[in-house]
């Protein structure tokens, strides 16, 4: 009798467990760790809404295919990869200071590095986009970039034999729509985590050279008020004294607040040695030029950042040549060879 009861209980438990699962839809969550988002231990919590768009192998691979496919542009000439190249941490090639779109149209800003996007609340130099999913549409529909409509991209993807089965596999959908295309791209983009630079090894206990250590100390003293934390940005918008005229108003375009004219996002410095030229308008070709600017080139204007007005004489940040050399040595420790050679992101 007791044994019979035991079996009855066991059977009942299995029914209960079965019920639990039947409440949820079956999801094909790839068990392959390679395609899960993993937060590096020394990084903050990601802000990307993974709960709405869990990364899967099929979704990631579809996003990658889209990233490299010029079908996104009006005349089939420009893919995301045109301006975001893995070898430069998904920034533009250095010979393209401003992005180059269809019919060789020139953009107005330097294409930023696509790194650690899952940790960012706002995107682009002016922060006008507040969710990663909505970033590709700007490139697709910009007249000087891909010059295509989102609706027409969807139409072309539906007509291209390869895509409908890939969307079916990734999202179990019969018909391609734009939000799934954007989610696939986000899966690929959100996985671009750069956390294996020499600096990261240092954080975990590896040694720095004397020069790198001195550079880090100088950086913390003179740069980290803005380039803060493990992502090397506080993600605020600041005028760093490039000019006193602002044909591109930057953050003010989004906030519609005169006090934000000439402010642009403090960029992350991860992989900065690879992402030349620098600043939203690609003004500086080298890190030396950037540091020279902070030392002697800062131009005053009503919105100039207060942190650049703290010198006893003049503006900017006092830096000797020796200090610049050491800071540059430190900045090179932010280069992540693992990231730029990670085969998962490669088009193959």
């Amino acid at each position: 009798m007791k044994t019979a009861q035991k079996y009855a209980h066991l059977a009942l438990s299995w029914v209960c467990i079965g019920m639990l699962f039947s409440c949820h839809e079956d999801q094909d969550i790839g068990l392959d760790n390679t395609y899960q988002f993993i937060r590096p231990a020394h990084f903050p919590e990601p802000v990307y809404t993974f709960e709405n768009n869990p990364v899967t192998k099929k979704g990631f691979e579809l996003g990658k295919k889209l990233f490299f496919d010029p079908i996104l542009s009006r005349d089939g000439s420009v893919s995301c990869n045109n301006c975001h190249i893995q070898g430069t941490a998904f920034a533009d090639a250095q010979q393209h200071p401003l992005s180059v779109g269809v019919e060789d149209r020139r953009g107005t800003r330097n294409a930023p590095s696509l790194t650690n996007l899952a940790f960012m609340k706002e995107f682009f130099w002016d922060g006008g986009v507040t969710h990663l999913d909505f970033t590709p549409t700007n490139a697709i529909e910009s007249e000087v970039e891909m010059d295509e409509s989102l609706a027409n991209v969807v139409k072309k993807l539906k007509a291209e034999a390869a895509y409908p089965p890939l969307f079916k596999e990734a999202f179990d959908i019969e018909e391609i729509t734009s939000p799934y295309m954007l989610q696939a791209l986000s899966q690929y983009l959100a996985m671009m985590v750069s956390a294996d630079s020499k600096y990261d090894q240092y954080v975990k206990g590896e040694a720095f050279s004397k020069e790198e250590l001195e550079g880090l100390a100088l950086f913390e003293d003179k740069c980290s008020a803005c380039h803060a934390g493990v992502l090397f940005s506080d993600f605020t918008y600041r005028n760093n004294g490039l000019s006193d005229t602002f044909p591109d108003e930057g953050r003010a375009r989004i906030t519609e607040f005169a006090g934000d004219i000439g402010k642009f996002r403090v960029p992350s410095l991860r992989n900065v040695a690879l992402t030349a030229p620098y600043m939203h308008n690609a003004r500086f070709k080298t890190l030396q030029e950037v540091l020279d600017h902070y030392d002697t080139g800062v131009v005053d204007s009503p919105t100039l950042d207060p942190l650049l007005k703290k010198r006893e004489r003049g503006l900017g940040i006092a830096l000797s040549e020796d200090e610049k050399t050491k800071i540059i040595a430190f900045l090179h420790t932010l280069t992540d060879r693992t990231f730029i050679s990670d085969t998962r992101f490669m088009n193959r």
Binding site: A8, M19, C23, T130, F134, L150, T177
Partner: protein
């Protein structure tokens, strides 16, 4: 042993009920229809072709105009009754078109879109409706959305300052300052206007500083003149008039004909509360 069996059995029942929502409750439900009746003053709206210079209407300040497009998003609909009755329309953002819930685009060009059917409203008496004109942060911060929120399917989305246009009014006006613009495959007709009211970021101004961002999403709350009963065999309806003349207010088309940023849309957003009027209810 018996108690364990009982426990397992109740767990089973719990699981069943969790899967089937409220079906086991004794509560009965009905429907409620919200009808948006778009007007220009006392006149019905008849849309013209874009660029038409046939002006059917006149603003309060005497400017002749017509409309070629008129519409807006409605979201977060709520019904309340005097005895604690409460219905909150389910809100959900999803890439899957069929799973997007609680967002509605009312388009003058699509008559059916003017009628919103609320289902599964708990039976009872209701005396107030509250809804949002435009799409607030919860419609944007969950990421790419399908169906009525899909820009590739006609949703009104700003890429550069990501968010939805809450109200769009397009047409022509006799004194519009718009000159003809011919682009690559598109034309902006002379004398036309396009007033797009958007902007959802709600960031309080820092002390001593001016406001950053303009939040043009408005919540409207309208009282019914008497209680409206919802129940199984009933088909109640609230008839809401939306007056374009009140939305336009004292617009001067000679200078205001191209509105595509939140701050420029703010004067129109401020007119929203006066422009959405409860006309009557049907029992």
């Amino acid at each position: 042993m018996k108690s364990i069996q009982l426990l397992a059995l109740s767990a089973l029942i719990l699981l069943f009920s969790a899967c089937k929502d409220d079906e086991l409750e004794a509560q009965t439900f009905g429907t409620f229809e919200v009808e948006f009746d778009n007007r220009v003053g006392s006149e019905a709206i008849s849309l013209e072709e874009a660029g038409s210079q046939n002006y059917s209407y006149t603003t309060a300040s005497g400017q002749a105009f017509n409309l070629s497009l008129f519409g807006y998003y409605i979201s977060k609909i709520k019904l309340e009754g005097p005895n604690g009755e409460l219905y909150e329309d389910e809100m959900k953002v999803s890439p899957h078109a069929d799973e997007v819930k609680g967002f509605y685009q009312v388009l003058q060009s699509e008559p059916a879109s003017r009628f919103i059917q609320l289902e599964n409203v708990p039976a009872g008496t209701y005396h107030r409706i509250t809804f949002t004109v435009g799409i607030a942060d919860e419609g944007i911060q969950d990421g790419a959305a399908g169906g009525i929120l899909d820009p590739a399917e006609g949703a009104w989305f700003w890429n550069w300052n990501a968010g939805y246009i809450g109200i769009a009014m397009e047409g022509s006006a006799q004194n519009s300052g718009q000159e003809e613009v011919v682009g690559d495959g598109w034309t902006i007709p002379a004398k036309s206007f396009a007033l797009h009211v958007g902007g959802w970021k709600d960031v309080p101004a820092a002390t001593g500083e001016e406001q950053r961002f303009v939040n043009n999403v408005k919540t409207i709350s309208l009282a019914f003149d008497s209680g409206v009963r919802v129940g199984e065999a009933l088909e109640p309806n609230a008839h809401i008039v939306v007056d374009v003349l009140k939305l336009l207010g004292n617009v001067d088309f000679s200078t205001t004909y191209s509105v595509h940023v939140p701050k420029a849309g703010q004067p129109f957003a401020e007119n929203i509360p006066a422009a959405f009027i409860l006309d009557h209810t049907h029992q």
